[in-house]
Amino acid sequence: MNWVQGLFMAISPVSIFAVFLGVFVGIIIGVIPGIGAGVGLTLLLPFLMNQPALIGLALLLGLWAADGYGASISSILINVPGGSGAVATCFDGYPMARQGKAGQAIGLSMGASLIGGLFGTAVLMFLAPPMAEFAIKIGPAEYTLLGLTGLTMVGGLSGDDPIKGVVSAAVGLMLSFVGYDLTTGFIRYSFGQKYLYGGIEFGLAMIGLFAISSLVESTQEEEEDAGYRVRVKDSTIKGLLATVKYPGAVLRGSLVGTVLGAFPGIGIGVSSMMSYSIEQKVSKHPETFGNGAPEGVIGPEAANNAVQPAALIPALALGIPGSSTAAIFMGALMMYGLKPGMDLFKTSSALVWALFWSIVVASFMYVIVGLAFGNFFASITGVPIEYLIPATILVSFVGAFAMDGQSTAWLVVIVLGFIGFMMRAHKYPMGPAVLGMVLGDLIERNFNRALLISDHSYKIFFSGAINWVLWIILVLSIFGPLAWSTVKKLFLGGGKVGAKPAA
């Protein structure tokens, strides 16, 4: 029984210690905006070369898994996303923190991360080969339609002014088009600035457009609001236990993260934003989103932690890394003489099982570490916001610099911060801008590539069953609500529906 043997390998003291080290570093790297698991793996890899394979790989997996959880902490506490996957967590996590529920928010994020991570790992353990085969059937045409379906979520994120939502989404789309266009070699909207040739990185844009703008906005608050000391009401453990009260959100988030994470062309930012949008769409109280809805933390957190094991599915089964982090991890596998490929699953040696179990161990480990420090972290919200602002701005700018090592990044952050502030001041919702930015790149790149492959024939978007399914979902998500209310009126009798008191 290789899986039992693997389990015992994974829970040997040395292996657990390696995972612990990884988790510890991973949480710290996650909390710091601007550096993510990719940087952590790159820096640690040289030191692990002479370690046994299990020790080295378990440490890396621990780091990678904990990074996703750690990133949510800065999102919740200071509204600065700790990583690309944690932007959506800001939307409701930070309002929760301002209401004194930082402990609960961190706890919910922990619980959702744990279940998302375990769900993804279970799929990696048992369904990886068929999932991988399915993932490569998704080509440029399918990605285009998937992205367009995602864009239809803008309506839900727009609040009560759909026009402002569309404008906000357009800002996001435009930002995603800046720089070198891969499929034509054309450089757009660079204003002759070398720095912009490479485009604006998503994480960097979020620091400016989202975080800086909200910091500036908070100075506009009434005097007593700014100095108001939030009383931290609850603890992380309560939040952790409260996760089970939202089984739907946890499951949907895990599912979205696992499925989208297994597609090599989709990043962690898309997965968590899609999960947030879906949570809002299915919620009975969509108006609570943005004001501290627990589901708004749970959905994206379950999703972004399911992405990690899911990204290993194409990486391990086919040798296709879905992200740069997955590529670095594959490099580490090869360094230890493990060859990615279906054989890895067919033979499924004890070592491979031990690696899978290490992710499980890591998931529980960051909950334990998180519980130990969670309340301490949450107590930061007890500091009046006016004392936090200078440090938060500093952290944002250091994070921006860390992202690509160029001080020009600050200029981008300042300009986008100004745009974001103007948008906030005029009550534009920020969600659509974030969604537009993550999806713009996905849609554009794949649309162009699909047309290059099909010799500019649009038939490629209508070939194959997957495309047709996506078209149906796309049409339903645009016209569905309208059609449904019409059907209700015509056949079920408008009077009956109206007669029921609103729930």
């Binding site: 490569i136 070198y180 891969l182 040798g319 990615p340 010799d455």
Partner: protein, 344 residues
């Protein structure tokens, strides 16, 4: 903030600590200032600017050798990532720093294409060939391989025969002007047939396109991608001699096209005006690091086709030769780019 956590009594101790730290920092600053006076190079850490994000093939190679170079340099060689297309941001960063040899850069061969293809944007890099100083090339045995799904084409001749009937869609890991694109154009020149280049946002995405049957073939580099040979056949690779890591992959040279020997190389370069003796010191350190048995062992383990390594002269000459061959396919490249931009 400290007192807020009820640790006010620790404050005086913290102040002492802070003063000590400041004192130490200023001492360090002072000694760095002194080092400017004529001292033997290197007296402080050397920055090695890598024009790619952390984790890619070039970055892994550069970090791989950096840890051994510092052993022979006597000072740390600190890798700093400055990503951006065509290395242009990295070049700007190097040009900003003092030209004293403490800031050097990793250069990859496609730079010789982009300085011509993107003449306006790359204006800063234009004097590269004339005035920059080669140091050492530490990845010299890599090239581009043409991969197909297992069983779709028997050999290179079957693929070319098909390409004469219809236009084959051949993917690459990056955009126009990359080594993938250049090798494809040169391949088309040598073998004939008609091919469309399909750019991708990374080796993983490109490989998914190939395995999913969206494209006919794919240009890959042996060092950049972890190749799973159970699903693909590599019909040929543009290196001079077979790579021992993949002994079953034939070279284009042995298939009868020696002109398709286009190594894809990575090496170190110093900006203009760096004194020659400093460049020599760096070259010696890189050379020794390259031949360090531990580095060789690392490369073998990580399956990096590092080749034999090239000294400053060989590395400079190679890039000159590469530029000459790139200029030959440049008009074709520009035409293809224009075609893609106009959408027809």
């Amino acid at each position: 903030m400290i007192s807020l956590f009820g640790m006010g009594r620790l404050r005086s101790r913290r102040i002492v600590l802070a003063v000590t730290i400041i004192a130490i920092l200023s001492l360090v600053g002072f000694s760095a200032g002194c080092a400017k006076k004529k001292e033997k190079f290197p007296s402080k850490a050397v920055t090695f600017i890598v024009p790619m994000s952390p984790g890619g093939g070039v970055d892994t190679m550069s970090r791989g050798i950096a840890s051994y170079v510092q052993k022979y340099l006597g000072q740390p060689l600190v890798v700093e990532n400055v990503p951006g297309p065509g290395s242009v941001n990295a070049i700007a960063q190097v040009m900003k720093a003092p030209k004293d040899g403490y800031t050097i850069m990793a250069v990859t061969t496609p730079i010789m294409i982009s300085i011509h293809l993107y003449e306006k944007q790359m204006a800063l890099a234009k004097p590269f060939m004339e005035s920059w100083k080669p140091i050492f090339a530490f990845l010299t045995g890599d090239g581009n391989g043409l991969a197909v799904r297992k069983g779709t084409f028997k050999d290179i001749n079957a693929l070319v025969a098909e390409a004469k009937k219809r236009t084959l869609k051949v993917g690459g890991a990056t955009g126009f002007g990359s080594s993938d694109h250049a090798t494809l154009l040169q391949f088309a020149d040598a073998y004939g047939g008609s091919y469309d280049y399909i750019p991708h946002g990374g080796g993983g995405e490109a490989m998914a396109s190939l395995l999913g049957g969206k494209i006919d073939a794919l240009m890959i580099s042996l060092s950049g991608d972890a190749v799973d040979l159970s699903r693909v056949d590599i019909l040929g690779v543009s290196i001079a001699d077979r790579f021992e890591g993949y002994p079953n992959i034939p070279t284009f040279k042995e298939l009868g096209h020696p002109e398709l020997t286009l190594n894809w190389a990575v090496g170190a370069y110093a900006p203009p005006d760096v004194p020659d003796d400093v460049v020599k010191t760096l070259e010696t350190a890189f050379d020794k690091a390259f031949h360090d048995p531990d580095f060789q062992k690392w490369a073998k383990q990580a399956k990096k086709p590092i080749g034999t390594g090239w000294n400053a002269k060989q590395w400079g000459d190679f890039l000159k030769g590469y530029e000459a061959s790139a200029l030959k396919i440049l008009p074709k490249m520009q035409a293809e780019m224009q075609k893609a931009q106009s959408g027809k």
